[in-house]
Symmetry: C2
Subunit: 230 residues, 2 copies
C-alpha cells in the first residue's frame, strides 16, 4: 500500500476533490487557491491544476482574478437570492417528477442517504452532513431522470453551500432532518403534488434561515474584513 507511485490524477479528479472540500466547508469562501500549492498537493503540474480551477470557475465555485489567482467564491447577497430563486423554479417540479417515477429501490437509497446524514451529524461532522444534505437534493433530480436539470441543480447546491458558509444564522441544527423526512413520506406515497409543495416550503425555509440583510457581511476581500474588525 505504498502511495508514492500513485498514478497521476486528471484535471477532473482534482476539480472533484476541491469541490468536495469546498462543499464540506474545509475550504472557506475567500481562500486563496495557489496553483503551485495545489499542484504540489496532488502531484500534478500547473497545467492540470489550471484546467481544474477553470472548471470550478465555470461552476461559480471559484473566482479567477487575472494575474492574481484563484479564490473560493464569495457569493454576494444578491447572488444568494438568485440561487434560491433558481432553485425555487427547478426543484419543486423536479421533486414532483421524481415522486412519480420513484422505484422502491430509489426510496431505499434515499432513506439510506438520510440515515448517513444523521449519522454524520451525530458524529459531529457537520461538513459531511451538509454535503450529504445537498446530495439528497441531487439524488432527487437524478431520480426525476432529467440529466440537464440535474446538472443545474448540482451547481446550485454547490453554490448554496458557499452561501450557507457566508450567511447562515440559525446554528441550531441542520435544517434538513425534518424537511427531508417529510419529503420521503410523499415520495413513498408517490404523491407528486405533495412532494412539490414540500420541496417548495423546504426551499423557503432554507432562505429564511439565512441572514440576507443587504448591508450585512460580504467580505469582498480578506483585507476588507480585517479592516472592519480593526
Amino acid at each position: 500500500m505504498t502511495d508514492s507511485p500513485t498514478k497521476p490524477m486528471t484535471a477532473e479528479d482534482v476539480a472533484l476533490d476541491l469541490e468536495r472540500a469546498i462543499h464540506e466547508h474545509r475550504l472557506i469562501p475567500g481562500s486563496k487557491l495557489g496553483e503551485d500549492e495545489i499542484g504540489e498537493v496532488y502531484g500534478v503540474s500547473r497545467t492540470v491544476v489550471r484546467a481544474a480551477l477553470q472548471a470550478l470557475a465555470h461552476r461559480r465555485l471559484v473566482e479567477l482574478k487575472r494575474n492574481r489567482g484563484a479564490f473560493v467564491a464569495q457569493p454576494t447577497v444578491r447572488e444568494a437570492r438568485e440561487v434560491f430563486e433558481a432553485r425555487a423554479l427547478l426543484e419543486p417540479r423536479t421533486a414532483r417528477s421524481a415522486a412519480v417515477r420513484m422505484t422502491d429501490g430509489d426510496i431505499v437509497a434515499l432513506q439510506a442517504h438520510i440515515d448517513a446524514e444523521h449519522a454524520a451529524l451525530h458524529a459531529g461532522d457537520n461538513g459531511r452532513a451538509l454535503y450529504l444534505s445537498g446530495q439528497f437534493h441531487i439524488e432527487v433530480a437524478r431520480i426525476a431522470d432529467q440529466a440537464t436539470i440535474e446538472t443545474f441543480i448540482t451547481e446550485l447546491i454547490a453554490r448554496s453551500s458557499l452561501i450557507i458558509a457566508l450567511y447562515w444564522q440559525r446554528r441550531a441544527a441542520l435544517c434538513e432532518s425534518n424537511a427531508h423526512h417529510a419529503l420521503m413520506t410523499a415520495f413513498a406515497a408517490r404523491d407528486g403534488e405533495r412532494a412539490e409543495e414540500l420541496m417548495k416550503s423546504h426551499l423557503l425555509d432554507l432562505v429564511s434561515s439565512l441572514d440576507l440583510s443587504s448591508k450585512a457581511s460580504q467580505p469582498q476581500s480578506l483585507r476588507e474584513a480585517l479592516k472592519a474588525s480593526g
Copy 2:
C-alpha cells in the same frame, strides 16, 4: 486598419467566437475542432485554444473525447427533450418577471431586436436570424434581472441551436416571428400572466417543430454518416 499586429486574443475571445459560429450554424454538429487548426486561425497557442475548448465543453457546446479531440456537440434526442424541459421550467416564469420589471427602454430595445431578426431573415442570413431569435430569449432573462437564471437560459439557448441544426423539420419559416411579436404585446401591457402563458406555448411550439422520433438521425461520428451514404 492593418490586421497583422492584432493583439493576442484571450481564451474567452476564442470561445465567444466559436460559440457564435456554432450558434449561427457555420459550424455544424460533429465538426472536428483541431487544436492546431484553431490556434493558427486565431493566431494563438494551443494553450489558449485548449482553455477555450474546455470552456465550451463545460457549456455542452463541444464534446471532448480523450486523445481524440474536440467536436461540436451532437445532442441526442433525449438531451433535446431535456433541454426543452428545462426551458419550460425556467423561461415562462422568467418572462412573467420580465413583464413586471420591463421599462420603456427595454421595450424599445426588444423591438429593435425583433426588427434586426426580421431584417436578417429577409436578407437570407438564416444563421444570423436564428442567433438573434435566441438572443431575444436571453434579453428577456436579462430584463427579469436574474443573472443566475440568465446564465442557465443562455446555455440552453445555445444547446437549442444545436438541436435545431439536428432535428429541425419545418423549414418553412423561423418560428419566432409571430410568437415573439405576441410576447411584445404582453410586455407592453406589463401583463405578466399573459407573458408567462405565451412563453409556455412558444416553447411547446418549438418542441413540436422538431422531429424527435427516437430512432431518427443521430450521426454519432462523421465517419458513421459517410459510411451510411457509401
